[in-house]
């Protein structure tokens, strides 16, 4: 278990919005085209959408077949925000500090593997196809297989039935738990993610 970052701090909305105002300025100045959020929860995002002058264009979040975040995904889409999915193939190369015994691997899922065999592609590419066809923008890290990841989204799409089968694979298995960002002793990583629908008090 990694120790906490000495700079970790709780989400304080007023403070966050001061930073967001400066990001809005970047848009005003033409320095960036869009601004966005990452790792938001529904209660935090509701406040930001209420108070932002320029809405987030994207929300980056962990998304793969074993962690589909259906509620947050739908909320983000309904707000006109594009979901960007990190760890789209389950981050098989993630550091030891981000591994726990309970973690599962979408590319080792028998359903993903069977679909891959049916298409003659690697299970990782199945995950990429699913992501794009679902409507999120996956951002797979790859130093060797980026060509296959790109090719996978332009031909031979998954069938509706295959998409439905993958939708049934969700295990609510968050891989990047964010322990390093816990801001005080005695917390568990779940405290970062507002799993009860309210922002965890500071």
């Amino acid at each position: 278990m990694t120790s906490r970052s000495e700079h970790a701090k709780p989400y304080l909305h007023e403070s966050f919005m001061m930073t967001w105002r400066k990001m809005e300025e970047l848009v005003d100045l033409g320095l960036v085209r869009h601004i966005g959020t990452s790792n938001m929860t529904i209660p935090k995002l509701k406040l930001v959408l209420r108070d932002a002058r320029i809405q987030p264009a994207v929300n980056e979040m962990e998304l793969h077949p074993h962690f589909q975040q259906p509620e947050l995904f739908q909320y983000v889409v309904d707000q006109g925000i594009q979901p960007v999915g990190y760890c789209p193939i389950g981050s098989p190369g993630r550091p030891e500090r981000d591994r726990t015994p309970e973690d599962t691997s979408p590319t080792e899922d028998p359903v993903i593997q069977a679909i891959g065999q049916a298409h003659g592609i690697h299970p990782a590419v199945v995950c990429i196809k699913w992501a794009v066809q679902r409507g999120q923008t996956p951002i797979p890290f790859s130093v060797n297989n980026y060509r296959a990841n790109l090719a996978g989204i332009v031909d031979d799409p998954l069938s509706d039935d295959e998409m439905r089968r993958i939708a049934g694979l969700d295990r609510s298995c968050r891989l990047i738990k964010g322990q390093v960002f816990l801001w005080k002793d005695g917390q568990t990583w779940e405290d970062l993610w507002d799993i009860h629908g309210e922002i965890t008090p500071p």
Binding site: L26, E60, P140, F181
Partner: protein, 86 residues
């Protein structure tokens, strides 16, 4: 919004040079977006070696492209968004 982006938030077993080569190669095969784990401000990250990616990964060879970057939640300060001299 591009349908796919090349993640460049590396892992601890890939070198900055490998990431840079992947960015160049990906652009050549048609990627138009990369998502960078590089914070726009230095010094507030939890991974000290991250800033070492900056010089290598920045020379994105295609102009018609999308680069996204972020600041960590530990760096959410108005002063970390835009350097004074810019």
């Amino acid at each position: 919004m591009p349908a796919i982006g090349l993640g460049t938030f590396g892992s601890d077993h890939v070198t900055p040079a490998q990431v840079a080569a992947a960015v160049r190669g990906a652009a050549q095969v048609g990627y138009r977006a990369k998502n960078s784990g590089l914070p726009p401000s230095c010094g507030t990250t939890s991974t000290p070696n991250k800033t070492s990616f900056r010089p290598a990964a920045n020379p994105w060879p295609i102009c018609d492209s999308t680069t996204s970057t972020f600041t960590w939640c530990t760096g959410h300060f108005p002063t970390s968004i835009r350097p004074v001299a810019m």
